[in-house]
Structures are given as structure tokens and as C-alpha cells.
């Protein structure tokens, strides 16, 4: 279950990112060398950016890659740290759920007004609904961890931090 979820989010984000790359390449190449750009490539990139960011958000939560200040970890006793981790998961989960609700509301407004992108006339609302759902799923990751009391082992943040 967990694996399928991670794979699905990863596949979504990876595909969108690859498309942004290819789109920019052909758009810029076309404009500089053939004086023909891809119509609407800017707005498609914008929509794809939303997919990249929000599809990868649950993965950041799953892998505990959010930046934390962990200098006090060695001061606290392990039981205290477990309580702390549970509370932090509750806070993060609640915040992401609240954000999901907020974006759902925003999406509703967009759906009602039927706002589209300027050139290709693509509806924006579905993407904002997607933002909301993926925020909610990220919140769920934290809430599940809170409920299951999964020990939140402090891991060294990996990956490409600046």
C-alpha cells in the first residue's frame, strides 16, 4: 500500500518534471533557431510545476525531509522524544489538513468562476483540487504516524539540500 502510494506520487512528479524540462528545451530551441515557439508552453509549465511540487510533497513527509532544528535531540530522553515526535506529527498533520481545506475552498471558487489559462483555455480548478488532495494526503502521512505512534527516528536529511 505504502509502496504503491510512494510510487504513484513519484511517477506523477517525475513525469511532470521531465515534461517541464523537455517543454522548455523545445520551446527555447524553437524560438532561437526556428523562430517558432510552442504555443502555451509557459502556462503548461505552470500547471506542471503544481504537479511536481504537490505530488512530491507527501514523499517529503514520508522520508522526513522537511528541515528541522535537531540540535536539542541529544538533550531529551528517548521517551520524551517519542512524545515530542507524536506532537510534532499532530501539528504538521493538522496544518496540512487545514491547508488542504483552504485550497479545496479556493478550488471551488475557481471552479465556479470557470477561470482558465490565458492561451490554451485549460481549466485551473482541477489543478487546485489536486493541490488540495495532495496536501491532505501529506497531512494524512503525519496523522497516521501520530495515531500509529511510529517512532520518529531522527534521520539525517539526505538529497540535494542547498
Amino acid at each position: 500500500m505504502n509502496r504503491i502510494f510512494e510510487w504513484a506520487c513519484g511517477a506523477l512528479a517525475a513525469t511532470a518534471l521531465f515534461c517541464i524540462m523537455a517543454l522548455t528545451f523545445f520551446d527555447v530551441g524553437g524560438r532561437k533557431f526556428a523562430s517558432a515557439s510552442i504555443p502555451g508552453s509557459l502556462e503548461v509549465t505552470e500547471l506542471l510545476m503544481v504537479v511536481v511540487i504537490f505530488a512530491a510533497l507527501p514523499l517529503v513527509s514520508i522520508r522526513r525531509e522537511h528541515v528541522v532544528f535537531d540540535s536539542l535531540d541529544h538533550v531529551l530522553s528517548p521517551p520524551l522524544r517519542r512524545v515530542q515526535a507524536a506532537l510534532v506529527n499532530l501539528v504538521c498533520g493538522a496544518l496540512l489538513m487545514a491547508l488542504a481545506w483552504l485550497m479545496w475552498r479556493t478550488a471551488g471558487e475557481f471552479a465556479q468562476s470557470g477561470e482558465t489559462t490565458a492561451q490554451l483555455k485549460l481549466l485551473k480548478a482541477p489543478f487546485i483540487y489536486g493541490m488540495s488532495v495532495l496536501c491532505g494526503l501529506s497531512g494524512l502521512v503525519h496523522l497516521l504516524r501520530f495515531v500509529l505512534r511510529r517512532p520518529d527516528v531522527p534521520v539525517q536529511p539526505q538529497g540535494d539540500r542547498p
Partner: protein, 430 residues
């Protein structure tokens, strides 16, 4: 003023309780705005920030440059860069350390991340240094410090984020980083000379290479050179914007990795997902910092602070110097990007109102981050090396990195004193 101070206090409290910094900033920003203005206004402006940061074409520059660095790392080009540096300077005393710094500078021209640069070098340069009997402290110190060149030498994730937050031209920021980056590399090499002359047996020289070996090594890096020239040259020359350059760079790096048969479906997927994760992590910080900045800007704090500082009657350079001292001290204990994102709403308006160039201030910010990344006790580069090289103790890394911290602090002073070093190259871009 009081509201904003309470806000900062609350963020630090939450951060100390181990709430991720992005969440701490977000919570305080929304609650602060809800209490000082109104809740509907707080919700509206938050959803607006999320929406605008998500749907932003120019921000695609972030994942694209991250992707470019990850493809190039995957293609194994770091080995060739290190080899090319080694054949020229490896026979000097401390030659491998010098070569590591040079390779970091070269890698920094494709990769915009300090941690990725240090991590890559730990796989490429460390085995060679260990084989030749370099001391653990020198070799890890040099990799940690060299890695920070990744964010000064363009492209640079930090410069992109600074440029977005402060609406400063990213192309100019990139150009501004070139001279300081190269000078820092030279200063680090000078530090290696000092360290090795005091303790020569810890850094034995390598073998001298023949010119034909050198030629072969240089031919191995033509691809990197081409990519750097096209991307950075294109941005500098105004052929394309930073975002377009990032797209070309990422595509070029992808084709390069493909041509070298370094990619499988699995590794391609991994690289894309890893880049997307880093992007999501950075955007969470960016969104939260904007929400918090909106709250701070609504309070009287930025204005009060500006007034207070003018009241002090310090000369403008003194004020900037004082900011740098605050940053270097904060950087020893704080995560650097969050430190900058938190303080920019306060410091940046002051710097601009004093008549300083935002591009120059951006370079100074990168330099303080470089220092923060390698200054104990909380330096991310040191932790990353500690994780990747488990047999080296953290204390040993701390010991080895000190000379480089000193060098970077000196470099910061030089950059504060001589803005021309940062502003000369961008001055041709108007």
C-alpha cells in the same frame, strides 16, 4: 513591533520543539495575520501565496537546475573533473587537496548545491586522498569547504531563492558570484598550503603527470565545459533567461548522461523523483517564508527597525558589517536557508534604503551561508560528510574544517570591503 517580535519568538520556540521550520513559519504567519488583521484576510492571503507560488513559470528554474546537477552527478563527470584537476596540480604538496578544491569549483559550475557538491566529492576525491595517506581531518575539511563553492559559483539554488524573494535579477546574481567564487577557491588553496607546510607528512604529493595524460584528462571534460559555456554564457550574454537556461542545462545534462549510458529507466526515475522531492521541500520553505513575511511586513517592525538603525547613527558599511556578524553567529547554530528567509523581510529593506546594490548583498548572503554550512557545531556539510563517511569522527571533521572557516570569514570581509569584486561582472549586463 511587539507582534512581530512575538512572532519570531514563537517560530524559534516551535523550531526548538522540533516542528519543521516551514511549518513553524507557516503557523506563525497565518496566526499572526489572523490576530492582527482578520482571519478571512489571513486565509485569503495564504491561499493566494500557495496558488501564486505553485503556478509560477519563473520558479521552474529551481527544479530544472537541481535536475541538471543530479544528471551530471549521475553521469560521473565529477570523476573526470577531479582527474583533470589532479593531472595538473596533483604533484604539488597537498596536491590532492588542491585538486579537490578545483574539482569542487568546476562541479559548482554545473551544480547549485553545496551539499550535493560535498557529497559527490566524498565519493570521488576521498578514496584517492585516503590511498595517498592524507590525514582524515584535512581531507574531510577540504571536501566540506570545497562543497560550499557549489552555491557561490553559478548556478546556485541559494541565489535563485534570494532572487525570487527579493525580486533581484537572477542572471546578475549568477554573474556576481563568479569572481567571489574563484577567489574563495584560491583562498582555500592558500589555506591548504598553510596547513600542509606545518604538517607536510599528512598531505604527500601525488605523481607528476605527463602532458599526454593531461591532454587525455582535459578531453574528458569537454562536455562539462560546453554545457557550462552554453548555460552560463547564454544567461550572461542575455541569449536566454535564467529559467530558459536551466531548461537547456537540464536537457543537456540529460542527453549527456544518456550518451554516456549512465541512465537506466530506474536511475532516471530516481533522479527525477529526488529532484522533485528537493523542489517540494524548498517550495514548502518558500511558501511558508512568504506567508510569514506578509505578516511581518504588515506589522510596524520593518519600519521601526529602519528608524532605530538610522537613529544609531552608524555609517552604512558598519550596518552591513553588523548584519554579517549576526548572520555568521546565527549560522553556527541555525539551518542557513531558513535563517536567510526569516531575516530577509527585515534586513533587505534596510540594505536597499541605505543605497546598496541588492546583487552585492545577495553575494554576501551566499558567503554567510557558505560559512554557516561548514561552521561547527551545526554545519550541514559536516553532517553530510559524517553520514557518508561513517569511519571518520565528527570531531575530526570539525578539526579539519577550521582553517577553511577562517579563510571564508576573511573572504566575507574582503567582499564587504570591496563591492566591486561582486559587481564588476554584472555591470556589463545592462
Amino acid at each position: 513591533m511587539t507582534e512581530a517580535l512575538l512572532g519570531f519568538g514563537a517560530i524559534f520556540l516551535l523550531a526548538f520543539l522540533r516542528v519543521p521550520l516551514a511549518f513553524a513559519m507557516g503557523i506563525v504567519g497565518v496566526v499572526g495575520m489572523g490576530l492582527t488583521r482578520s482571519w478571512p484576510a489571513a486565509f485569503y492571503s495564504t491561499s493566494q501565496v500557495v496558488y501564486e507560488t505553485g503556478f509560477a513559470y519563473t520558479l521552474s528554474v529551481i527544479p530544472l537546475f537541481i535536475l541538471m546537477g543530479n544528471f551530471v552527478a549521475r553521469a560521473g563527470l565529477a570523476h573526470e573533473l577531479f582527474r583533470a584537476a589532479y593531472v595538473f596540480i596533483g604533484h604539488l604538496r597537498g596536491g590532492l587537496a588542491h585538486a579537490t578544491i578545483a574539482a569542487c569549483a568546476g562541479f559548482g559550475a554545473i551544480c547549485g548545491s553545496s551539499i550535493a557538491t560535498a557529497a559527490t566529492m566524498s565519493k570521488v576525491a576521498y578514496p584517492s586522498m585516503k590511498k595517498l595517506g592524507y590525514s582524515e581531518s584535512l581531507s574531510t575539511g577540504v571536501m566540506a569547504a570545497g562543497g560550499t563553492l557549489g552555491i557561490m559559483i553559478p548556478p546556485s539554488t541559494i541565489m535563485v531563492i534570494y532572487g525570487i524573494v527579493t525580486e533581484t535579477n537572477i542572471g546578475k546574481l549568477f554573474a556576481a558570484g563568479v569572481v567571489p567564487g574563484l577567489l574563495t577557491a584560491l583562498a582555500m588553496m592558500a589555506a591548504v598550503v598553510v596547513v600542509t607546510s606545518r604538517d607536510p607528512e599528512h598531505a604527500p604529493p601525488g605523481e607528476k603527470s605527463t602532458w599526454s595524460e593531461r591532454w587525455v584528462a582535459v578531453r574528458g571534460i569537454w562536455g562539462v565545459l560546453l554545457l557550462v559555456m552554453v548555460v552560463l554564457g547564454g544567461i550572461y550574454g542575455g541569449v536566454f533567461t535564467a529559467t530558459e537556461g536551466a531548461g537547456i542545462g537540464a536537457s543537456g545534462a540529460f542527453l549527456f548522461a544518456l550518451a554516456r549510458r549512465a541512465l537506466t529507466w530506474k536511475s532516471l526515475f530516481q533522479i527525477l523523483v529526488e529532484s522533485a522531492r528537493t523542489t517540494a521541500m524548498l517550495f514548502t520553505l518558500l511558501i511558508a517564508a512568504t506567508v510569514f513575511a506578509n505578516f511581518v511586513n504588515f506589522t510596524s517592525m520593518p519600519g521601526d527597525l529602519k528608524e532605530w538603525i538610522t537613529h544609531l547613527g552608524l555609517s552604512p558599511p558598519m550596518i552591513v558589517a553588523a548584519m554579517m556578524v549576526i548572520y555568521v553567529l546565527l549560522g553556527t547554530v541555525m539551518e542557513e536557508l531558513s535563517m536567510v528567509l526569516l531575516t530577509i523581510p527585515l534586513f533587505f529593506p534596510i540594505v536597499v534604503s541605505l543605497g546598496f546594490d541588492p546583487v552585492w548583498f545577495g553575494v554576501l548572503i551566499v558567503m554567510v551561508i557558505q560559512i554557516g554550512l561548514i561552521s561547527p557545531p551545526v554545519g550541514m556539510n559536516l553532517f553530510v560528510l559524517n553520514t557518508l563517511l561513517p569511519d571518520v569522527r565528527l570531531g575530526t571533521i570539525f578539526k579539519g574544517v577550521w582553517p577553511f572557516v577562517v579563510v571564508q570569514v576573511l573572504m566575507l570581509m574582503v567582499l564587504v570591503a570591496f563591492p566591486i569584486l561582486s559587481l564588476w561582472l554584472p555591470s556589463f549586463m545592462d
